[in-house]
């Protein structure tokens, strides 16, 4: 038994004084709030091969070994050797237990062919045998398997009925906790001879049915006087370590919630999830075929092992070698973690066993590996095994197992093309983070897209991202949005190229304009220089003219002076001609 098994809420009856005797059958005592009613008979009925004898055997063996209550097995159908073999298949050593004084096995051989009844009789022989056996080991528990044989063997049913009722009274008086097994009767009848009417305290029905070519065992508590009990059918399993009943998910919703984040091994995805997923949460990776679900899961395992944590990778589709090889092709080397003892790869065809057997195996793997991250690849394969509802309940139990142990779960689920997201929706309520992978077909190519559909307690990114499998594992690319949405593959490349070209063109244009400006500026400068030059020339001309003018003026002044002097001379000689010459100058 695993100590980490989560005990569900124990019904009140256990505390209100109805004493119960634990069976030690895993899951059953949780279901009934403590086991079978102490000191009272319980009827366990079912068809051939439904496991009722095993139920009785485990009740006795666990009672003697774990609860200090020796027992007596009164077997009417099987020989002591057969019983020992039967018990050995459950991992119990009956002869050793007998030798140790914890058990008496009395195989009652009744051959109707050699028995004739005549007149009145009673079953004192049986009482005496039973009493002797009970006394010899101080038994507290008794199993009568299957007492109905008496009804068939002894042809006076009235006497057998009366004696059976007396036997039950005697067992109660002795305070013996008793399991009486019965053969399932015809439609509507719990037992072939209606002995359920004598056993009023507790009635359990075991069922072994085949549906969709899958054999499943179910246990149902029909009646439990004075105690609350679930009325559902619970799957149970006959294992090599005893029986096991799977209580439905009452155990759920009591796990602690970590606030620690765990990387999923792809940095960009961690960013989308604001730092990874919560430690111990459940991640569903769903997608159509070839979208990279397994690779994404392997990446998470790789990351966990790289942190030095233990991981479990259960594959229903590939063998361990195949997984190692395939992941190596994308640069994820799982082999080294297997060698380092950090990673357990487990490959198993889902169809090899029933769902309960699968669950049992899974729990055993968890016990052995104690991983911090576990991958189930892929749970869709389980639908080959059982009907939808059963698969869903199996997956939810798996998630229960993982969550109750605080293991971060990564389960992958195959969605069929055209089926949409509905197939994964059945379990989505149990999932904390749901990553959807999808193929996007455009421009004659298929590209992979990744969405985070939900992530509880996380302000996750709403982006659709393209992801690529590179030689170094998975890479998420930055978003490129084109006129028709997110672009992928070559469309993305083209968009990137076009954007680049546009930038380049604008750059060249600017350069050209700059050059043109520079050229224009040079031209203007040249013109300015030319004008300046011309201006300087004009100034020089002007100055020379001024000089010339000044010289002329002084010459004229000198002339006028000489003329004046001459006029004075002429005035002295009288004449008008001097005025005419003066006007012309």
């Amino acid at each position: 038994m695993t100590s980490s098994y989560v005990r569900p809420h124990v019904p009140n009856a256990a505390r209100l004084g109805l004493a119960k005797s634990p069976t030690g059958i895993k899951g059953f005592d949780e279901l009934t709030g403590g086991g079978l009613p102490s000191g009272r008979p319980t009827l366990v009925t079912g068809g051939a091969g439904s496991g009722k004898t095993q139920f009785g055997l485990e009740f006795l063996v666990r009672g003697a070994e774990d609860f200090g209550e020796p027992g007596v097995l009164l077997a009417f159908e099987e020989s002591a050797t057969d019983l020992a073999d039967n018990a050995a298949s459950l991992g119990f050593d009956l002869p050793a237990l007998e030798a140790a004084g914890g058990l008496v096995v009395d195989a009652v051989h009744i051959d109707p062919a050699e028995i004739v009844t005549t007149g009145d009789f009673d079953l004192d022989g049986l009482f005496i045998r039973l009493a002797a056996a009970v006394q010899s080991v101080g038994a507290r528990r008794v199993v009568l398997d299957t007492i109905e044989v008496l009804f068939a063997a002894l042809d006076n049913e009235a006497i057998v009925r009366a004696e059976f009722a007396r036997l039950l009274r005697w067992l109660k008086d002795q305070g013996l906790t008793t399991v009486i097994t019965g053969e399932r009767g015809r439609e509507g009848q719990l037992t072939r001879f209606g002995i359920e009417e004598y056993v009023s305290d507790c009635v359990i029905v075991l069922d072994h049915r085949v549906r969709d070519e899958l054999a499943t065992r179910r246990l149902r508590i029909v009646k439990y006087r004075g105690s609350s009990h679930g009325t559902n059918e619970y799957p149970f399993l006959i294992r090599d370590r005893g029986l096991m009943v799977w209580p439905l998910t009452e155990v759920a919703l009591s796990y602690g919630a970590s606030t620690e984040r765990v990387s999923v091994g792809v940095p960009e995805l961690d960013d989308m999830l604001r730092g990874g997923v919560y430690d111990g949460s459940a991640v569903l990776v769903s997608g159509t075929a070839g979208t990279g679900k397994t690779t994404l899961a392997a990446q998470a395992v790789e990351a966990a092992c790289a942190r030095g944590e233990r991981a479990l990778f259960v594959s229903f589709e590939e063998s361990p070698d195949q997984i190692v090889r395939n992941m190596r092709s994308v640069g994820i080397d799982l082999g080294r973690w297997v060698d380092a003892g950090l990673l357990r790869l487990w490959g198993e065809r889902a169809t090899a066993f029933g769902l309960e057997a699968h669950l049992d195996r899974f729990e055993q793997l968890l016990d052995e590996t104690t991983p911090s991250v576990a991958v189930l690849d892929s749970v869709g394969s389980l639908t080959h095994v059982g009907a939808g509802a059963e698969v869903t309940s199996t997956i939810s139990r798996e998630l229960d197992l993982l969550k109750s142990r605080g293991i971060t779960a990564m389960i992958t689920s195959l969605i069929h093309e055209g089926q949409g997201e509905s197939s994964a929706a059945a379990v989505s309520s149990l999932i904390d983070t749901w990553i959807l992978l999808r193929n996007s077909e455009s421009d004659g190519e298929r590209n992979r897209l990744l969405f985070v559909i939900k992530s509880r307690g996380t302000a996750h990114s709403n982006q659709v991202r393209e992801f690529r499998m590179t030689d170094n594992g998975i890479r998420l690319l930055d978003v490129v949005v084109g006129p028709t949405g997110v672009l992928t593959g070559s469309a993305r490349a083209r968009q990137v190229a076009e954007t680049g070209a546009a930038v380049a063109t604008r750059g060249a244009d600017l350069e050209r304009r700059r050059l043109a400006f520079d050229r224009r500026a040079a031209e203007v400068e040249a013109e300015i220089a030319l004008l300046r030059e011309r201006l300087a020339g004009q100034r020089a001309e002007l100055e020379s003219l001024a000089v010339e003018t000044e010289r002329d003026d002084s010459a004229r002044t000198a002339l006028q002076a000489s003329i004046a002097r001459q006029r004075e001379h002429a005035r002295a000689a009288g004449g008008l001609g001097a005025d005419e010459r003066g006007d012309r100058t």
């Binding site: 050699e114 004739v116 007149g119 009789f121 009673d122 079953l123 008496l150």
Partner: protein
């Protein structure tokens, strides 16, 4: 298998070894003992032995001969072993059970 008084089938010369299991001195037990003695005297005179076992005194013996009901008459010999459960009040049935019926109606 039937026994032929004229040609003994067992090394015991056809002697019937009978064992009657009872529990205490109940009326059923007493009736069974009386009925057995009567039948034997009438049909097996001189070639039978009766062993009476009280399971209240010897409880462990119940297991050896696979006794569940009382009274039970066990025919140890001749083989095969036969059991007759009840107070043996129906003589016809006792004779059939001991396989003496066919003997009488035989050759």
């Amino acid at each position: 298998m039937t026994t032929d008084p004229g040609a003994p089938a067992s090394p015991t010369d056809g002697t019937y070894h009978l064992r009657l299991y009872v529990a205490g001195q109940s009326p059923k037990s007493v009736r069974a003992v009386e009925n057995l003695r009567r039948v034997c005297e009438e049909h097996l005179a001189g070639r039978y032995t009766i062993e009476l076992v009280d399971l209240v005194e010897h409880p462990h013996l119940a297991r050896g001969d696979e006794i569940i009901a009382v009274p039970t008459l066990v025919r140890k010999l001749p083989e095969p072993m036969r059991r007759i459960i009840g107070d043996l009040s129906d003589t016809e049935k006792v004779l059939v059970g001991l396989q003496l019926r066919e003997d009488r109606s035989g050759p």
